[in-house]
Amino acid sequence: MKLREVKEILEAEVFVGHDQLDMEVKTAFGADLMSDVLAFAKAGSLLLTGLTNPQVVRTSDVLDIAAIIIVRGKRPLIETILLAEELKIPLLGTRYILFETAGRLYSHGIVGCVERVGEKRDFS
């Protein structure tokens, strides 16, 4: 799915990355704890989170996260937006809560980057 479709499904606002909406995404990971994101998220996934500070972008950069979706209608801090611009990581925001965000994306074919911890996801 293109990031543009993700934006439409979530009625999301684009803070950073208007020029990157043609990017393809297949998987996602959702958490507010960056410690867990670092432990489990896979490269190329969407990150769904309620955290708004610059560490969300730092963590995403380290992990090669495709794009960040801030949930629950929260607005990223200005430092967060500037860092996402600098590191060229798309940053979107949706008013849906984390559960709804994940559910809506899943029903359109986006799956977890990990299904169960400790197991490889079969994408066939």
Partner: protein
């Protein structure tokens, strides 16, 4: 470890402790350097993750620290040394979920007790020593 290997590149980075202001700067530099050296994507990613976790630990718990990157054609060696509170029980600190994080650290999205376990998870070799009241020393090896 790197004894008989030629170190092709070495650099050290200072990390300011007790603040998240610059957390992630060192791992970003390490990532850029390793990308320029044409290491495989997954190797670069693992090196960036362990450096970031080490950096977050210094930012969370130490007064200050230093991260040294040594690169040979076959492996990446990351050494993190800090002046800080140290760890009393390393075995306990290595357990996933065990944390001594303050609310400030948790507010930044960390302190879930995953850091050290995560460093171990993403490295090929991991050594840790610590002295309470003095600091902690991590040595991490990632093979290319």
């Amino acid at each position: 470890m790197t004894s008989h290997e030629t170190v092709a590149y070495e650099n050290s980075f200072l990390v300011e402790g007790k603040t998240f202001e610059n957390a992630g700067h060192v791992s970003r530099q390490v990532k850029t350097l390793l990308q320029k050296m044409k290491f495989p994507k997954e190797v670069v990613r693992r090196a960036a993750i362990v450096t970031y976790e080490a950096e977050i630990n210094i930012c969370s718990y130490a007064e200050r620290g230093k991260i040294v990157l040594r690169v040979t054609p076959k492996q990446i060696n990351i050494e993190a040394t800090d002046e800080g509170q140290g760890i009393a029980d390393i075995e306990l600190a290595m357990k996933e979920g065990y944390s001594t994080a303050t609310p400030k650290i948790v507010h930044m999205g960390f302190g879930a007790g995953m850091g050290l376990a995560n460093i171990k998870r993403f490295s090929d070799e991991f050594h840790i020593t610590s002295e309470v009241g003095k600091g902690t020393h991590l040595e991490i090896i990632i093979r290319a």
